[in-house]
Chain length 408, copies 2
Amino acid sequence: MTDWAAEAARLDAADSLAKWRNEFLLDESVAYLDGNSLGALPRATSARIEDVIRREWGEGLVTSWNAAGWIDLPGRIGAKIAPLIGARPEEVIACDSVSVNLFKLISAALAMRPGRKVVLSEPGNFPTDLYMIDGLVQQGLAEQRLADRAEIEDALDDDVALLLLTHVHYKTGEVFDMQRLTEAAHEAGALVLWDLSHSTGAVHVDLEEAGADFAVGCGYKYLNGGPGAPAFAYAAFRHQEVLQQPLSGWMGHKSPFTFVDHYEPAPGIEKMLAGTPPIVSMSALEVGVDLIAAIGVDALVTKSRALSEFTRAAMAEVVPELPCVSPEDPAARGSQLSYRHDHAYELCQALIARKVIGDFRAPDLLRLGFAPAYVRFADCWRVVSELRDILDSGEWRRPEYAARAAVT
Amino acid sequence: MTDWAAEAARLDAADSLAKWRNEFLLDESVAYLDGNSLGALPRATSARIEDVIRREWGEGLVTSWNAAGWIDLPGRIGAKIAPLIGARPEEVIACDSVSVNLFKLISAALAMRPGRKVVLSEPGNFPTDLYMIDGLVQQGLAEQRLADRAEIEDALDDDVALLLLTHVHYKTGEVFDMQRLTEAAHEAGALVLWDLSHSTGAVHVDLEEAGADFAVGCGYKYLNGGPGAPAFAYAAFRHQEVLQQPLSGWMGHKSPFTFVDHYEPAPGIEKMLAGTPPIVSMSALEVGVDLIAAIGVDALVTKSRALSEFTRAAMAEVVPELPCVSPEDPAARGSQLSYRHDHAYELCQALIARKVIGDFRAPDLLRLGFAPAYVRFADCWRVVSELRDILDSGEWRRPEYAARAAVT
């Protein structure tokens, strides 16, 4: 058998990103493999938020909208996210949630393809992506069509206004070929909206190269913006002039503070804004984005692949009875691996009791996420060895691990 | 002339709510009369947010969705807001922004009145209320009809699906008669949506007594939830079963964590949720709501009227040349007074330079808000006396006060 502990120690010692873990406040005793659900806390966040609260809000009061630059936060953060996804600064804005941004961009795409009503996606896509299509179906403005992954290109026809896909599948980690599918959609006359929630900050994305039309993404996973952090929206510059989105709130107005009765959208990406952004949560997001940008997305992608390759090899040797449902090729999967077991929920709970945090995805997956900014190879080895131990001891059969909580 | 300074001192000494000002972190040298735009910082917020960030997020990580009750925050805060507006706990939920919640409820109302497309409001309503109707007009689902305040009842006909009004006008402070207009709308077969942004926490509201259908409101004004704090939405219990809103994100699903492909709304007010809520900003909102609930809304309403009556009387005697555009009867206006002057912007800037913060509303209004939880009668006297001084000295003519900033 390989000495995986020694191998992990060797890889950690050689890891040029290892120093960045100190920029997060993470209990040394915890192996955190759920940064793809909620990213860890950057060390700088607490002081920054204290400053936003006490100085900007408490002392500056309403004048901080200008003096502290609150009004510029959505665009400023968007511009910082842009290089992580191969976009231009003026193409990205931070605002609202992924769900709300999906609604805006699905609606915008439908308006750009009059006569076409179909939004094409795949069954098993992250639920909120499908649910937001449902919302427009209920409004009578869209039809939902679902095609299995291998049949998506065949399902693109003259009725399809928009292809809506999640770049990295939240359960299996499978990656769609963004460029090929974008081209196929365009050939069929459709637009494409990519959900980058499980990609941004850990997986290679180049929206410009792919010719993508629209994208959304999450602030609280690999961007470490905090629980429920605001999301972001991308619209290719070439579409911004005609783009219309129906959540036409005052922050997206051309001149929000002239208080006129009629809505006139801002000329650029600011037209994606709706209401007043939550400044405290936005400010926490900015800290996380700054940190990921400072580390550098290419180095993060490289380390992500090394972490998951190490784990996949160790699991295959040490816990061979759990089948891996994620692609073998690291370029074909996101920063995660999922393993199938009939009692994946109980395994996950038993791991958490040992301070090894992965997560469960119904009905039978144990999901491990590799946030490359702070996950160590030692953490990866720990999940493998603890899992072996939990399976051998039968510890996962304890009744307390079977009780399901509201959120898993 | 009245000795207004002495009168203010007498009223502050007799004020049973005076002690609550200590629960806010406000510079003693600042007279803050803009709590109707951004409420002041509660003393408890900073420590609470530090705990959310370091312990709940940093240590609890993803397990805090259950362990720290994050998943319950929207409903828990909603239930605390409910008694401030005459609603039942199960009728209110905190989420998203006012703009986004308007969209949900306008859409829901249109779906409940098939065959009717008109959303009736008044010109000069707070812009985002009108803009969100525009969004549905663009979608082809609504028609906007505007009628002046005195003609609203005449404009209610068989085409009107929804009457959408702001309870307290953001510029003048005028209050609509909620009960009378709700009844008139119902007689015409229409539903009613009240925007309580300038009411909640400072003005008497009883949605149940008025028979209201829907409402939205703001978390960052009199509720002191912080800049861009999440908003709230109210749906009368009798409508909740049939209510459908198109921002059908995963947090509003009946079982969000079963990750099924098809959207099934939660049975109750939770169906108003869309995406993942911003927990840090939500937690700050909860501190503000707790504080207002502890003070008690009836006492706040009483003090609000006393503050604005004092100010109105002092202004009438000391600065008689500025006409007051707010109603004379304190029961007919919200917790604010607005004065007209051709150079209201410059007056506002000159006041800010003297640490007296009110705000300007285009084109010519100086607006003073009375957040009764922390505003002192001495603050009210200060704005009057400083205004007299600024007008007499011509100080407002200084060129630096004429430069308009992005947000005013």
